[in-house]
Symmetry: C2
Subunit: 660 residues, 2 copies
């Protein structure tokens, strides 16, 4: 089972929700560095309870709002409420800084509505499908692989005492092969097991492919089918020529796009992880296939983090800490540029707050990867649902550009001009048109074209046969038959000529980020509970770093009076002027309760106005407090939020009160 | 004819491309303050030439890329290339600072795919249409009003010598009334004038409404119609309850959303102004209908700018400079909150670089405005196409929340808790169920409901009749007939009771920004040409302010050598570290040509590396240069870009060279 928001692997029909981990769930190798212990997710029940507590918090605090709720909602759609949007926006802002600005990428924006021709060329129209079955009586639709998986899991769990060892092994085998089952095989299994529609128990139709794109029609005629794009990448590929020109016809360069993508899931599950509309941030790095080195690779070569190479998966080992430089040197990772991006993705995810012990880079197995891909790694983050694919980093070779070149007739290629002309040996095929015309009359043009289209090996074999036997049988596919070519009809030779440039289709290395998934996993890694003052209550805490926290600061007048409220307004104005997001909470609620509410929203700092001249700044995770003058408060906060000062520096510079 | 990206006015069928200005095109009242003269747009030919020069520049420099170009393109879709995206992103970044952060708005994000129920309630499913005619033979579709308009304009222009004064006046009359013609009237005019399909000259079908939403289907069953949202506002309205709770049940507050909107135009025209997918930035400010004052109104009250009130339009005057405070005081603008937003929109547009002399706020005429709207003003920007509606600022009263309350059955209301209970006179209707039961048997429940639903006036009239005549005829609509109500069957009175709160539907004031239109108009206002050194050539110049310029700086090694290129890299690293967007141009092209290319991209500064230790900074508009040390260059640039220093300050502090 795969969490896949991209159709990396060419086997579009086999995506489902969560990886069955090929190795046991990773146990954190280092003790967490946070002060609070993350919820230990040792058993399924614990996970479920943790997830429910977090999800309740995220809904109650409006991080997520079920879309169109007042109309009963529509599954697979979530709105981001104010703190959710701010968190997402901060993640994207840092993404842009970390990738686009740092590497001078060409960021573009294309429409979501896409005409059929583009998605026909990319393969989505024909292959971006899931297999579906219908309840014969009610017409309700289900994903065929989900039903089969649920059946097998149920059987193994509930009937494990009554089924034979043989049956159990067969069920496990089906689960392992679920992704590889064809439409027909799935149908046969469903029949064999007598699987019926959930709830109604009605019989099911045979499985058939359902295209996951939202279809629409462009213009009023009804003659121009269009789709909501399933990924943003195609917009970059079709613009390759203009972008290459914009970049002064120089390789390598990267283009980027952030935007909505759409997937009309048959039956969305698992909350915000598998939705019908989501934000992708995609990078297409175009590079000469003959030189995939990266000038900045040394900046990341010494990073060490959890990798899960193909061989380790196949031999039943678990992910291991591996040095990035070594992984590239040994060929575990195909090339430096791919390695560079893997390193940069690791830095990005850990900087926003993903726990490095619950992050692994898993290499695609040979059967997961498209035939054209050179190598492919997924950044997977461990959450209560299992290991979630959040970023895919693939070397897709020349596939996409070639596909669009062929279908559009526009050459999407790059040129390397040689400083000095190079002498190369070139195959020269010269059909003798006069003799071919006499022999083949009206067909001779097709014969000429077929002769000219021969590749080196075929042509040299023909040359040898013609020289030894004087004639040869030659299959002309446009005629659908063999013709006899005689020695006088074609000359074949290899000649040394000077060439001034090399024309080639660039390879593309594609890091593709599912922003919503990263954001949800970050919430899981940031969430914990700690006891409140009142004995048995547990208070929620979202330990977002100031870099991504939806709001940087709360401002609390200690009690409701004019003096403190004036002070709060002064603070608020100074925070606004330096663009520190914040909110004044003027309610008369006790300061403890206000702190608790603020912790649950993930706000790193609170300023309590409790005098005319000075205020208390409280740090969320440690609950420590310092006294700072009213005038200095905003600038102290800004220094910490921007990383110019640590909380320890602040602690040392101002009168402080430790929570311990 | 109206440029409208919102369906403010309830008359959805009448939108078309450009205002026929009701007053003559505004001539700038002040001399422009820029050093370069903006292209004078006195005649139609000049405008066309100006627009063509600009558009060629914007396409050549990849601000816009026609979408799906390699597949022949699809009309009504444009991609933003790298500088176009950066310009748009900078405008949005400032929009967020100027509106969302400054006012602590609640920014949210909702899906573009929207189920039918939402857009049925909003009126879009039934009324968001344009009238279309079809070529009877080819099936090609046209907007009926466009064909009629083109016919009238052609006739007036080309045949003005042969048609009678009467005919001319009739044609002008049709043009003036174009927006108000019904489907039938449009059809009759097309028949009367014998208008045929362009090019083919085939007969046309009768006009019929075409819904402008892109339709799709949610989920696999085909049973759940959905649409791509035509505006982002509905997402905010349906979330009102959660947002009100999030805001601590306090009014006023504003929510905001930036995102894609979709409109399946019948025949898109005029390049980037009328496209099928575009970015809207919308604000919904919810306010107590009984108190539309605004605490920060005094911040904008003294602003003076071009306004075009209803009366001025009707009496044939042109737009005039009016003081905002006066306009609100005199009631020209309906209320302070609406006035506050008009002022803030004025500040936003002029700060990003819109020429204040080519910007006017035009009030909707009574017949343009929906019946429910309290007042509505459009920020219109003058471009080569005429006056373009770029921002709509409407007081939509309680309409949207009420519509969704009714259709969803969820009350979208606010409460005002009184500090002390208030004594009010309330109507009390008490049906005497026993007597009604005896009289009406099975029907009595419907009679009871109808009696209870009476409004004050009707009830008091019934009371009077019962008292004078003892009985009254009463129409029960659920029964579809009159019944006789006798005095014993109901008691009606007015009683004084104490109420503790007021429950009401908030009014909404909606500033709605067409970001793509603003961006295109800004390009027009920023573009000019100036002579190059080589005699007769004219060089393009986009004078974007550092606030929005797609790139802040170009870095030029003076000539291609290692020393200067090293210097350029040092500068580049220091600019990257302080997030100043820039590009190194290492080409050996002459420095003059590189400056010209940079001017055409709108880059405000260029740093030329021409020594080991110091560099030349050139300002784009003045072409002045200063010498600054290599180390200081980045920080000087950042000070100017962030507005901490003016170019004059820089000039005074460093050795300078004036271009004059």
């Amino acid at each position: 089972m795969k969490v896949s928001f991209k159709m990396f692997n060419g086997r579009f029909q086999t995506r489902s929700v969560v990886h069955i981990p090929l190795a046991p769930i990773q146990i954190p190798m280092d003790a967490p560095t946070e002060q609070q212990q993350p919820a230990q997710l040792s058993s399924g029940n614990d996970r479920e309870a943790f997830r429910q507590t977090l999800w309740n918090t995220l809904l109650r605090r409006s991080f997520y709002l079920p879309s169109f709720k007042i109309y009963g909602g529509v599954s697979g759609f979530y709105d981001y409420g104010p703190p959710g949007f701010a968190l997402k926006n901060n993640i994207l802002k840092f993404w842009r800084e970390h990738f686009v600005y740092e590497e001078h990428m060409l960021e573009i924006e294309c429409p979501s509505v896409t005409p059929e021709a583009v998605l026909k060329a990319s393969g989505h129209v024909d292959k971006f499908t899931d297999l579906m079955v219908k309840d014969d009586k009610t017409g309700t639709c289900f994903r065929a692989d989900h039903l089969l998986r649920d059946y097998c899991n149920d059987k193994l769990e509930k009937d494990h005492l009554t089924i034979s060892a043989e049956q159990a092994s067969e069920l496990k085998n089906v689960l392992a092969l679920l992704e590889d089952l064809s439409c027909q095989e799935l149908g046969l299994k469903i029949k064999e097991y007598g699987i019926t529609a959930p709830h109604t128990k009605n019989p099911l139709s045979d499985p058939y492919p359902f295209n996951l794109m939202f279809q629409t029609s462009i213009g009023p005629s009804g003659q121009s089918p269009g789709y909501m794009r399933p990924e943003t990448a195609q917009g970059i590929f079709v613009n390759f020529r203009d972008l290459y020109y914009y970049n002064g016809k120089k390789l390598p360069f990267a283009a980027a796009q952030v935007g909505q993508a759409f997937r009309n899931e048959i039956s969305p599950r698992q909350g915000p992880l598998r939705v019908r509309e989501f934000t992708l941030a995609e990078i297409e790095h175009f590079v000469d296939p003959e030189n995939k080195s990266h000038p900045k690779f040394s900046n990341v070569a010494e990073l060490e983090f959890l990798m899960f190479p193909r061989e380790a998966q196949l031999s039943g080992q678990s992910a291991k800490k591996i040095c990035l430089g070594e992984a590239v040197a040994k060929g575990t990772i195909n090339n430096e540029t791919l390695g560079y991006f893997i390193g940069r993705v690791y830095l990005f995810l850990t900087k926003i707050g993903i726990d490095k012990n619950r992050l692994r880079f898993r290499q695609h197995l040979a059967n997961e990867m498209a035939h054209y891909a050179a190598d492919c790694w997924d950044a997977e983050i461990e959450a209560s649902y299992g290991w979630i694919e959040c970023v895919g980093i693939a070397d897709r070779s020349a596939y996409d550009l070639q596909a669009h070149s062929e279908k559009s007739g526009v050459a999407l290629v790059a040129e390397e001009k040689f400083a000095e002309p190079k002498e190369v040996e070139q195959l020269v095929i010269t059909p003798v048109k006069k003799d071919l015309g006499i022999a083949f009359k009206g067909d001779h043009k097709k014969v000429v074209e077929s002769l000219e289209a021969m590749k080196e090996q075929e042509a040299m074999a023909m040359k040898a046969t013609l020289e030894s036997k004087g004639e040869v049988e030659f299959y002309v596919c446009t005629l659908g038959k063999n013709v006899t070519i005689k020695k006088n009809m074609v000359s074949i030779s290899k000649e040394r000529t000077k060439v001034h440039q090399r024309v080639f289709t660039p390879s593309v290395i594609e890091p593709s980020f599912g922003i919503g998934r990263i954001m949800y996993c970050l919430s899981e890694h940031s969430f914990s509970t700690r006891p409140g003052k009142a004995g048995d209550e547990q208070l929620g805490l979202l330990s977002f770093s100031p870099l991504v926290a939806p709001m940087k600061c709360m401002v609390f007048p200690l009690v409701q009076n004019q003096q403190f409220e004036e002070g709060a307004k002064v603070i608020s104005e100074s925070l606004t002027s330096i663009r520190i997001s914040h909110k004044i909470d003027m309610t008369g609620t006790s300061i403890g309760k206000r702190y608790a509410r603020s912790d649950e929203l993930g706000v790193p700092f609170a300023i309590t106005v409790d005098s005319d001249t000075s205020v208390t700044i409280r740090e969320r995770d440690s609950k420590d407090q310092v006294r700072v003058s009213l005038k200095e408060a905003a600038s102290v906060l800004s220094s910490v939020a921007e990383g110019k000062m640590t909380w320890q520096d602040v602690w040392a510079s101002f009168p402080h009160h430790s929570s311990e």
